[in-house]
Symmetry: C2
Subunit: 342 residues, 2 copies
C-alpha cells in the first residue's frame, strides 16, 4: 500500500447497528458501549436511530428509547470521544440538529441519496454554525456514475462539509468501483474523503482497504459488524488489519476486541451473517425496503423475487418508488422471463 | 481486473465445514448438501473429516458418521460433481486413499504444513496412479517466506500434483501477501494454482479476489461460510461477486443461495462470526489449537493470552510445539511485558 496518514475512525454500532436490533437499544447498553469505545480511544461515536435523528417512526421502526436521552447519556460518559449524530434531511430537521448540539455532540453527518446533495445545504450550513465537525454522507453511492458522485460531493463541500463520505449503503460496490470513486473525489475535492462499507457481498473490508489505498482518511466501522443488511466493516477486525499494515488509528485493538465479545455480542439476538436476503440486496444493489415488496410481487406473478430485485437495480429504482416493483414484476411476467441468466 | 479464464470451484463445507459443527454431519445432511451442490453445478465437493481422512480421533475430534459412508453417499447422489477427499500424511494413510478411490472419488488433496511438502511425495504419486485429479495443499502458507513457498510448491509439482494451493489456514494473510505468493507461484510452476482462504481478518473475499487477479484458477469456498476459525470464503457470495466481475464459474448462484439458506444454515448450531478468538488467531497467525493452551498459560503467569499468541506467531511456532507456549509465557512474564504495544 502507499503510505497513509493517520485514519479517523467513526464507530457506527450505536446508529447503523440499531437496524440490527430493531432500534431497541436501552440507555444502559448505550452507556456501556460508549464508555468502552471512549476507553479504547475511538475518536467519533455515532448515536442516532438507524435512519438518523427523528427516524423513530412507524415507517422506519420505533426506537425503544428516546434518541436524545441516548445521545445525552453517551456524551456524559465520554472523556475524549466525540459523539456524532446522523441526519437525513426530510426525516430529521434543523430543530433536532440544534437540540443534539445543545446536548454536546461534536459531529453531525448530513446524509442524502447520492444524487440529492442539494437538499443538504441548510443542514450542513447550520452544522457548521453550531461549530460541529460536519460530514456530507452520500448514500447508495453505487447508483451514480463517478462524475455524478463527484458533482454531488462538490456541492456538499461548497455548503461547508469538512469531509464527504462515499456510502455503500447496499454493500453493492466492488473494490475497483470504490477505487475509482475515491480517486476521483481525491482529485476534485479539498475536503477529507470518507468511506462507509456494508458487507452484503463480503467485501466491506476489501472495499475499505481499497478506499484507504486511494486516500480516504475517514473510515466507518461497526463493532461485531452490527449494521443494516449484512452489517458494516467490523471495527475491531479493521483496526487489527490496519495494525498489520502499519496504518495508525490510535485505537486500542485489545479493548475493542473485549468490547465486541463481552458487551456487544450479548446485545445481538442473532449474529450478523450474510444471509440470502442480504446477499441478494448487495447483488442487485437495491434498498432493503424493496425485499418484502419484491417477495409479494413474485408470489403474485409467479416469479423469483431475485429477478425482480435485479431488474430494479438495473433501473436504479430509489426509495419511495416501491410502486415500481409491481410494474416491473408485471413486465417480467409478460416478457421472456427470466431476463437475467443467472 | 485482468481477464481471467474460467475458475474451478471446490466446495469445502462438507470437509472444512465439519470443524464448525464438531464433525457431527449425519448421512442425511451430507446427502442433501451434496445433491444440491451437484444440482448447482459445483465441479468439486470435498467430503472428509475436517482434518482429512482418518482425522476422526480423540485428538482431532470424533466424527459422528464414518467418513467412508459419507463419501460413498455423496458419490452416489452426484450426477456430474466430483467428490474430493483431503489427506494429511501422518493423519491419513495410503490405505484410506485407496479406499476412497474405490468408492469413486475423483480428486485427492494432499495437505502438508507449508514447509513439509516432502512428506507428500508418496501420497501424491499414489493419487496420480489411481487416476485422481491431484492437488497439493500447502497449509499455514503465511508462515513461510515467498521463496520457501515456491520451493515447496515445486516439490509437490515434481511429485505429480496437477494443482498446488496456497492455503491460508489461519486467515492471517493480507491481500498484498496473497498477491506476491500467487504471482511467484505463477512464474515458477506450470501446475494450476489454487487458493483457500479463511475469514479471521474479514479478508477471505479480498484475498480470494487478489489470488484470482494474480492467476489462481482453482478456488475454494464454503457455503454459508462453514469452516474452521471464522470460516472460509462464502461460496454463494463468491459466485455472486464473480458474476458481477464477469468471471465465469459455471455455478448456479440462485441454487447456491437457496442451499445456503434452506439446507446449510439450519445445520449450524451457531452462525459463523468473527469472534474475539478467531480474530486473535488471524491477527497472531497461529494454530487454533494454541488458543486454549495460551489461555491456560496466561492465567498461570498473569498475562494476556493475546500477547502470548502474538509472540508465538512471531516465532513461527507450529502445531505439535504446544510445550513452547508455557516457555514463551514464562519469558514474557520475566521481560518488559507487554512486548507488543497493541
Amino acid at each position: 500500500m502507499k503510505p497513509v496518514q493517520k485514519l479517523t475512525i467513526t464507530e457506527v454500532a450505536l446508529r447503523d447497528g440499531s437496524h440490527a436490533i430493531n432500534h431497541q437499544y436501552t440507555l444502559e447498553q448505550v452507556i456501556s458501549v460508549a464508555k468502552a469505545l471512549d476507553d479504547a480511544n475511538v475518536p467519533y461515536i455515532e448515536v442516532s436511530h438507524g435512519d438518523g435523528l427523528a427516524g423513530s417512526s412507524l415507517q422506519y421502526g420505533l426506537s425503544r428509547t428516546n434518541e436524545m436521552e441516548l445521545i445525552e447519556a453517551a456524551v456524559s460518559v465520554c472523556a475524549t470521544s466525540q459523539i456524532g449524530v446522523l441526519l437525513l434531511p426530510g426525516v430529521g430537521t434543523i430543530q433536532q440538529l440544534n437540540e443534539a448540539a445543545k446536548l454536546g455532540v461534536g459531529m453531525a453527518r448530513i446524509a442524502t441519496h447520492v444524487t440529492e446533495a442539494d437538499i443538504s445545504a441548510q443542514h450542513i450550513a447550520r452544522s457548521k454554525e453550531l461549530g460541529l465537525v460536519t460530514v456530507g454522507f452520500l448514500m447508495m453511492s453505487h447508483m451514480a456514475p463517478v462524475e455524478t458522485l463527484v458533482e454531488q460531493a462538490k456541492l456538499m463541500e461548497s455548503y461547508g462539509a469538512d469531509t464527504v463520505y462515499v456510502v455503500d449503503s447496499a454493500g453493492a460496490l466492488l473494490p475497483f468501483q470504490v477505487e475509482e470513486r475515491i480517486r476521483a473525489l481525491k482529485q476534485s475535492l479539498s475536503a477529507h474523503i470518507g468511506f462507509h462499507g456494508h458487507n452484503n457481498l463480503s467485501l466491506a473490508m476489501a472495499n475499505t482497504l481499497a478506499a484507504i489505498q486511494e486516500g480516504a482518511t475517514w473510515i466507518d466501522g461497526s463493532v461485531r459488524c452490527l449494521g443494516a443488511g449484512a452489517g458494516n466493516t467490523q471495527t475491531e477486525v479493521l483496526v487489527a488489519v490496519l495494525e498489520k499494515l502499519g496504518i495508525e488509528t490510535g485505537v486500542d485493538v485489545y479493548k475493542l476486541m473485549d468490547l465486541a465479545e463481552e458487551i456487544v455480542a450479548p446485545i445481538l439476538q442473532k449474529p450478523q451473517e450474510i444471509t440470502k436476503g442480504s446477499l441478494v440486496l448487495g447483488y442487485a444493489g437495491v434498498y432493503s425496503s424493496f425485499l418484502l415488496h419484491a417477495q409479494r410481487a413474485a408470489l403474485k406473478f409467479g416469479l423469483d423475487a431475485r429477478d425482480i430485485l435485479i431488474e430494479l437495480g438495473r433501473r436504479k429504482a430509489v426509495g419511495g418508488q416501491e410502486d415500481m416493483i409491481m410494474n416491473v414484476a408485471a413486465e417480467l411476467a409478460k416478457s421472456n422471463y427470466p431476463l437475467s441468466s443467472v
